[in-house]
Symmetry: C2
Subunit: 206 residues, 2 copies
């Protein structure tokens, strides 16, 4: 693609480094930015700089935050004895949106994946083990993706913390609410039969 | 969506104003920016500011450029007697990529669309007429989209410049190279039969 100006070429190159954005989409973004008011573009530009310069990781759970402790870890009404282990910050947001979890999180920063060269040392497994050792954690809920890598990570962490006297669970897998049984894959359906939940339990939870 | 920091919320809002970008994609972009080096984010931020502050419109063809006259208009080897009228800068890039046009362009900035409230006054029709009046333009090639709005604009401009002694043509419509006839829509196929091209002409052009 040839551009009528070096400035446009540079901005297109910058935008096209965003995940899932090619040159054509980047050009659309650039033409959109050109139509905006000067102040709006300055605001955009400034918010990127502040984002990169002021955001840090929460020293307790590794969530991104603008303070030393994130809002969840510094909230006294959250139960610090229950820790939900997730892959990244987007999972925290998804679980927070359900409004059904009142414990704290621990963000691993990924899952073990030999193919991508990610081992336990690249993740925040050690800090998790230390947190369990030194504080009164009673339950760990593993909420990692239901993939080979997620299961490997589950197993690795379980082995690491099995010696401590705590409950370790994973989130339930099964047929999603609203899904038809006939369209479900057999592994999911099989698992949801194997790990069926007593109906009386569900009534108690309501 | 709830964010763990106001800075993230603000950056997500900025990104989600880009065309075709929702909150989830914007969050992916923000997390990507957080993983980048500080210098890279500063470079991105600066390129946006320079883009907005230094880019202007070419005073001859209304292409975007960082000079008064764009690279095409200031190139002495381009034929200023042949002008291709297009909707926006992306069409200029598409035609430039073919390498088969050696004239100059005129960017309308849109097409006449009463539904979207775009009339001739919102487009650069007047400057085009003035250019034809005052310089030695010999041919106008209309390269607008083959839509109702594009055809309306073609007709409007044709009426405006019909009095001048110049050739006005539109780019050819027809079956695309590599397309099967049976899958073509009947309007396109009908047009490509109606405006068939003598085979001898095509041999001459090769």
């Amino acid at each position: 693609m040839e551009f009528s100006s070096k400035l446009i070429e540079r901005a297109v190159n910058e935008f096209s480094q965003l995940p899932g954005v090619g040159k054509k989409t980047a050009l659309r973004f650039v033409l959109h930015m050109l139509k905006k008011e000067k102040e709006e573009v300055e605001g955009f530009s400034e918010s990127l700089l502040r984002l990169r310069n002021e955001i840090c990781f929460c020293k307790n759970c590794y969530n991104i935050s603008d303070k030393e402790l994130c809002e969840i870890c510094s909230n006294p009404s959250r139960d610090e004895r229950v820790i939900c282990v997730v892959q990244d910050i987007r999972d925290v947001m998804a679980i927070e949106n359900t409004g059904l979890f009142r414990g704290q999180y621990h963000i691993l920063g990924g899952v073990i994946s030999p193919i991508e060269g990610i081992g336990p040392a690249n993740l925040t497994v050690e800090p998790l083990v230390r947190k369990i050792e030194s504080t009164g954690v009673q339950e760990i809920i593993m909420a990692l993706p239901a993939t080979m890598e997620g299961e490997t990570t589950n197993f690795y962490i379980y082995k690491k913390i099995a010696a401590f006297n705590i409950t370790v669970s994973t989130i339930a897998r099964g047929i999603a609410i609203g899904d038809e049984l006939e369209y479900a894959d057999e592994v999911t359906l099989g698992r949801s039969i194997q790990f069926r939940v007593p109906y009386s339990n569900q009534l108690v939870n309501k």
